[in-house]
């Protein structure tokens, strides 16, 4: 019995215990259920009826910002793969001097200012534009006045940027130091001012100047620029993350442009022209173009114009492309090609009467060269070759008038067929349109002197590029190549003259450098064929001379080398300010061209190959 009672008691205890656990669990369950219901009700309430404060929304919503992705601008490269223009970032440092100002206690503020002193010392050492004390004073002053931005130094490159970021204070980051840098992409030119006008630039849209696209940079901006992209950046607990969904548009980098320029030749040409014109106070500027005969590829294009403020020669205007003027005696080759092609002159030895240097039936000035020639040679006749060598205006005016007096249109037509009367599509904007008058022009008074003056290089207007293109065609046996810097090669005219005429012209041009007005080139390191030319610019009064007897000179040498098997054609043109000095084509231009030829001969593979063949023989 006792045992049974004990068993019953144990059983009842267990049941009581179980009930107690059950109740506890039940209460927990009820609490959980209550919380769950409360959560559901709250969720429904928040979703349907709750409108939070905008500030709370802003702080709780992950920040999404649209960030433009800028493409990397393409590089400009020379024909041997050397970089002529490249985009590099620069950094402008600034400082928010109010950072931690309010939250710092006295001790912390002292530490901050001590670090600012070290930072100032570092800045003074790097920028070297102010003393350490000046920097420190500027920072503390700005901190006292509560300035949120002060500019630090000037824009710096990446290396200096890293150095500044490693200075005391700055290394603690933007939110502790207030130091930050704005990055901006700039265009850099490793070869400095060499070919700057040809390489060109693109000005900001904010520029007040309308001419914002210059040179290759400007013309090929649509390729170099690339395509902007965009991305959405959101802030997360782990940092900023880009949304890799359909909102992300990748930037397409700009394409590289390979030009025909050879920066070595460019430097040689630049130095040669500079050495000729620097020190000549009366010169306004000059240009020099080196072109490959077979392809028309421009290997060097130098344009130097005197800066009116500094007096130094700078690449500030593309004279070779944009400046047209009366070409002078270099145009006599055009006349010679015309009369040879039309059969009016059969050989260079053909003679014409000297007639005292006066072209009969015209008001053209007497040619003093002919008077001297008559006196020295005791003759009343002169060959076309002699006339060409001495660059006689009389001979070429006579040839033009004698040949085309009845049909001047034929001569003009020939000039147009030599592409000297029109603009062709060139890789740079701004190729000036030549001027070739015709007897029927409304805006030009055609007189008895017009034909003669065209014959020796006046009345027409040509750019240096047009002239070299013409001479290049002679070197290329009549095949006229279009000059190019990027897009090419292409042919402007398959034949502007017969090969026989081209050979005759080469002989005449070679005679000029051997025994004519360009004798300075006789001793060049390879044979040169070419022609000098000197013309006078017109003053506002319409005369070639001002009231003080000053003249505006344009001296030119144009030719090609080696004369027997031309590889390069070259033109050098100089322009003077009003002066009483004489600047002839056989002077500075011929000397500059000789220097270019001598140096190029030593480094161009063409001459190396030729030497090898000779050695093998």
């Amino acid at each position: 019995m006792e045992n049974e009672r004990n068993i019953k008691n144990v059983g009842r205890d267990r049941i009581v215990e179980r009930d107690r656990i059950g109740i506890v669990l039940y209460v927990v369950y009820l609490l959980t259920l209550f919380v769950a219901v409360a959560v559901i009700v709250k969720v429904v309430f928040i979703q349907k009826y709750y409108e939070p404060e905008p500030e709370i929304v802003r702080k709780l919503t992950p920040e999404n910002t649209r960030v433009p992705v800028y493409p990397e601008r393409g590089r400009i490269i020379d024909c041997q793969g050397r970089i002529l223009a490249i985009s590099c970032p620069i950094y402008q440092f600034g400082m928010d001097c109010t950072v931690l100002k309010d939250s710092n206690d006295a001790q912390e503020e002292k530490i901050w200012l001590d670090k600012a002193k070290d930072f100032s010392a570092g800045l003074a050492e790097i920028f070297q534009d102010k003393s350490s004390d000046d920097y420190y004073k500027a920072i503390t002053e700005a901190r006292r006045k509560g300035k949120e931005y002060i500019k630090i130094g000037y824009p710096v490159e990446y290396g200096t940027y890293r150095k500044i970021l490693s200075l005391p204070l700055a290394r603690e980051g933007r939110f502790s130091s207030g130091v930050y840098a704005d990055r901006k992409s700039t265009r850099r030119y490793p070869y400095g001012k060499l070919a700057r006008r040809t390489i060109g630039f693109v000005r900001d849209n904010e520029s007040l100047l309308s001419n914002t696209h210059i040179g290759i940079e400007g013309k090929f901006d649509y390729l170099l620029h690339g395509e902007e992209g965009e991305e959405w950046i959101r802030k997360t607990d782990y940092g900023k993350v880009r949304n890799n969904d359909s909102t992300y548009r990748k930037a397409v980098d700009g394409k590289d442009i390979v030009t025909t320029l050879n920066i070595d030749y460019q430097e040689i040409a630049d130095q040669a022209l500079r050495s000729g014109i620097e020190g000549q106070d009366d010169l306004e500027g000059g240009c020099l173009v080196l072109m490959e005969v077979k392809s028309g590829a421009i290997r060097a294009m130098v344009n130097l114009l005197r800066d009116p403020d500094t007096g130094l020669f700078e690449e500030s205007k593309n004279l070779a492309v944009g400046r047209k003027a009366e070409p002078g005696s270099v145009f006599k080759t055009v006349t010679l090609m015309s009369v040879l092609s039309d059969g009016y002159v059969r050989t260079l030895e053909q003679t014409i009467p000297t007639n005292g240097g006066v072209v009969a039936g015209t008001k053209l000035a007497r040619d003093q060269h002919i008077v001297d020639f008559e006196r020295s040679r005791h003759t009343k006749e002169i060959s076309v070759l002699d006339g060409f060598k001495m660059s006689s205006n009389y001979v070429f005016a006579s040839l033009a008038i004698n040949s085309y007096a009845k049909k001047p249109e034929k001569f003009i037509q020939n000039i147009y067929s030599y592409k000297l009367g029109e603009v062709f599509d060139f890789d740079l904007v701004g190729l000036a349109s030549p001027k070739v008058p015709t007897p029927h022009d409304d805006d030009f008074h055609w007189s008895d002197t017009s034909l003669g003056s065209i014959g020796y290089g006046y009345t027409t207007e040509e750019t240096p590029l047009h002239i070299i293109t013409f001479y290049n065609a002679i070197a290329n046996k009549g095949r006229m190549m279009k000059p190019y810097l990027v897009n090419g090669p292409s042919v402007l005219s398959s034949s502007i003259c017969s090969k026989a005429v081209a050979d005759t012209l080469v002989r005449a041009l070679k005679a000029v450098t051997e025994d004519g007005t360009a004798k300075r080139l006789k001793n060049a390191k390879c044979s040169v064929a070419g022609k000098t030319g000197t013309s006078f610019g017109t003053f506002k009064n319409g005369s070639y001379q001002d009231e003080n007897g000053n003249r505006l000179y344009q001296g030119t040498f144009v030719g090609f080398f080696p004369a027997e098997n031309p590889v390069f054609s070259i033109i050098c043109m100089i322009y003077s300010n009003p002066t009483k000095k004489s600047f002839q084509g056989g002077g500075i231009p011929a000397i500059a061209v000789k220097e270019v030829i001598d140096r190029i001969c030593c480094i161009d593979p063409h001459w190396r190959t030729e030497y090898k063949v000779e050695a093998a023989e």
Binding site: L33, I83, I86, C88, V241
Partner: protein, 115 residues
């Protein structure tokens, strides 16, 4: 079988009572799907964890992108500096500075017999 409103009321009443008693799921015999429920909750957890991992990785990608950009900038700067040194006059100056006798050639190069 037609459902009356009183049936629905009594169903809701019974369900409520069952919920209060903690027997709702037992009455639905949800124990049979216990493993599925656990698995569903496991998947929820997995999704949350994966999402966090993705965010961490993307943040790392972003940080690396910044580093890569910095390296590219450094590379561009070096390229620019090297290109600047390639200028003929610059080379000549450096040769003189280094005490070299090499100068600009004064005649074309030729190939020697050893070739």
């Amino acid at each position: 079988m037609r459902w009356n409103i009183s049936d629905i009321v009594s169903l809701l009443k019974n369900s409520l009572k069952a919920i209060l008693k903690g027997e709702f799921l037992l009455r639905l015999n949800a124990g049979r799907y216990f493993i599925h429920i656990v698995y569903t909750f496991f998947l929820f957890g997995l999704v949350i964890w994966t999402s966090l991992m993705i965010e961490t990785t993307l943040a790392r990608v972003e940080a690396n992108r910044v580093k890569l950009q910095e390296l590219q900038i450094a590379n561009v700067q070096k390229t620019y500096a090297v290109a600047s040194l390639g200028r003929r006059t610059e080379v000549a100056k450096n040769l003189i500075r280094l005490g070299s006798d090499i100068q600009e050639p004064d005649k074309p190069a030729y190939l020697t017999d050893e070739r």
